[in-house]
Amino acid sequence: MVTSLARLALFADLTTAQLESIAHRFDEEVYAEGQRVIRTGLSGGALYVILEGEAVIRIDGIARARFSPGEVFGEISVLTGEVPNADVEAATMLRCLEIPGADVEPFLVEFPKVMYRMLQAEARRLRITTEWKS
């Protein structure tokens, strides 16, 4: 998994030892095409980093956006402490790093460079959403 993590921009600032530590601390999960990763209204979620494959976000069954390797999802529910208002499912076979909700804050505080890169990605998403709405 270290090799997969090292390829992602999100973790570009970390040393090999730090990547090893992350790979040993958090689990890799694999989802079949169509399998649900996040469920509307259910608590206890996690933050997911896509290692391989794609995921699709659905609201009331309608596909709204697609995520690719290196992208993060699940963060809104974890950071706000509220249950998700959308489903996320695997659009292809999907391989993710899963950081359980309770571990997200200590993880981001331990690796501020990852937090900064995540904020950049969130800003880009927000800009796209704003452009789309205007």
């Binding site: 998994m1 090893e20 079949a32 469920r39 259910l42 206890g44 909700g101 309770a102």
Partner: protein
């Protein structure tokens, strides 16, 4: 000349089960009870699987309480007995304590092996021993063909209960200068030696604990810090924590450190382990007489990747559906501790107990029922009177061993239909939540991030799921008036 009548000659079967460890035995036993014709093959010559050899230091970590306040043949006893297989008939239940000499509170390896052999004998589980599965292919009609040393077996469904038993070593430069856990010698061989153990999970601590009285210096090293919060809630693992206790109290010569291994070097008979600190940056160098790689195991999948089986956890375990089918190769199922590849809901990041007998015995029963259903062997499901639903579910939440051992993974499901409420049995929670279907309820036991246990009801109404987490109770008794009131209100849409 003695003629040995071996069961299950090569040929066509609905299901073929491979492996005679506890996972394979439980699957075969329940399949037989359900009336599913199947073959059961094993390369070994006696039952028991990994317990014929492991754990190295001969003690299990899961316990059995011989003097529980319930009958050993009852379902409730399973809650106290984490090592017996689950007999579908009372006379084959709760066998493990019969073989414990009680010099320790957990069974020894030999006691566990004897209990499994007794289960085979008393439950009449038939196994074709000495038959090794050698290759796999799929026919044009989708059927699977398992080539074995005795000939070919054709089947619609194959269940591989192979264990996670093949040594796995990460790609560490110089790893060949160490020996894997499975090659660990008797403890006396490490007398007065400097030993570095790479790995701080179960097998690392098991070896560390075993060598602590013998080795001159003991170092356990791996990238991930010891997860004290997790261990504090896992009495199973505390059993091996003496090396850690020794380290934190400043005992001489024992170190438990966090470092990513860069390489293992060898010169003049000595080993040198070089690591980069993870929780505390800096170079770590340990000279050693012996390096033991307690880096875990992988499933001996042989050629299953070639027929499309996808894997997870560093390619060590096949990725599985809620019913333990390969997510990428239809018809190929798994049983035993390899079912850790079926992740379940992982609410708050917690996984099920599928790596140990207490959890995977239930997975095997769920699998057997699923296969029977796929083969059209319908099982009569009991009806539940609407007025009895609340008490029934609260009782299940209070003491169903399947729910308590496989938390947030298995659930009791009751479904509404034209003929009233039907008990659908124990099912994977993930399947219930994602499969759609008629209005229904699933009852599960769950744990929050602070390790507080909550009984939880999931109500399916018009295809939508509502989650109702009930409050915790200090002695886990969920039958009181407050619980009844809340459950009555939640279940109103089903009971009318």
């Amino acid at each position: 000349m003695e003629v040995v009548d071996r069961p299950f000659p090569p040929g066509d079967y609905d299901v073929v089960v491979v492996g005679s460890g506890p996972g394979g035995l439980q699957t075969s036993h329940t399949l037989s009870w359900l009336g599913v014709k199947h073959a059961m093959l094993s390369r070994d010559d006696t039952p028991g699987g990994m317990f014929r050899r492991f754990p190295i230091f001969e003690r299990l970590i899961s316990w059995t309480k011989p003097d529980a306040p319930v009958d050993r043949q009852s379902r409730e006893y399973e809650w106290y007995d984490h090592n017996s297989l689950v007999g579908e008939e009372p006379e084959v239940r709760g066998l493990a304590p019969n073989f414990m000499d009680r010099t320790f509170d957990v069974p020894s390896r030999a006691e566990m092996e004897a209990a499994l052999a007794a289960f085979v004998e008393r439950a009449g589980v038939k196994v074709r021993y000495g038959c090794s599965w050698t290759a796999t292919r799929r026919e044009d009609d989708g059927r699977l063909v398992l080539a074995t040393t005795d000939g070919e077996y054709r089947c619609r469904f194959a269940v591989f209960a192979l264990g996670v038993t093949e040594p796995w070593t990460p790609p560490i430069p110089g790893a060949e200068h160490g020996t894997h856990y499975v090659q660990t010698k008797p403890p006396g061989a490490y007398r007065d030696k400097r030993v570095v153990i790479i790995g701080k999970r179960n097998s690392g601590f098991e070896i560390g604990h075993g060598l602590l009285p013998w080795a001159r210096q003991l170092v356990l090293v791996s990238p991930r810090p010891v997860q004290l919060e997790t261990l504090a809630h896992s009495p199973l693992r505390l059993r091996y924590l003496q090396p850690y206790e020794e380290y934190v109290r400043g005992g001489a010569g024992t170190f438990v450190v966090d470092g990513a291994i860069e390489q293992i070097e060898r010169s003049n008979g000595d080993r040198r382990v070089v690591a980069e600190g993870t929780t505390r940056p800096g170079r770590l160098v340990f000279d050693a007489d012996e390096v033991i790689l307690a880096t875990g195991f992988k499933t001996p999948l042989q050629d299953l990747r070639d027929v499309g089986v996808a894997t997870v956890l560093n390619d060590r375990v096949p990725a599985q559906s809620p019913f333990f089918e390969s997510i990428s190769a239809p018809g190929i199922f798994f049983a035993g501790n390899v079912t850790q590849g079926s992740k379940g809901m992982r609410k708050h990041g917690a996984g099920p107990n599928s790596t140990s007998v207490n959890g995977f015995r239930y997975n095997a029963r769920v699998l057997a029922e699923h296969l029977a259903e796929r083969l059209g062997i319908a099982r009569e499901r009991a009806t539940v009177e609407p007025g009895a639903l609340v008490d029934y579910l609260l009782r299940e939440l209070s003491c169903a061993p399947e729910l308590w051992i496989q938390k947030n993974f298995l659930a009791r499901v009751v479904s509404a239909g034209e003929e009233g409420l039907r008990d659908k049995g124990i099912l994977p929670l993930e399947h219930f939540l994602d499969s759609g279907g008629p209005d229904a309820v699933a009852a599960a036991i769950e744990m929050d991030p602070r390790a507080v246990i909550h009984p939880t009801l999931y109500l399916r109404r018009g295809g939508r799921i509502e989650e109702h987490e009930l409050p915790p109770h200090p002695v886990h008794a969920y039958g009181g008036p407050a619980y009844v009131r809340e459950a009555v209100s939640i279940l109103k849409p089903l009971t009318g």
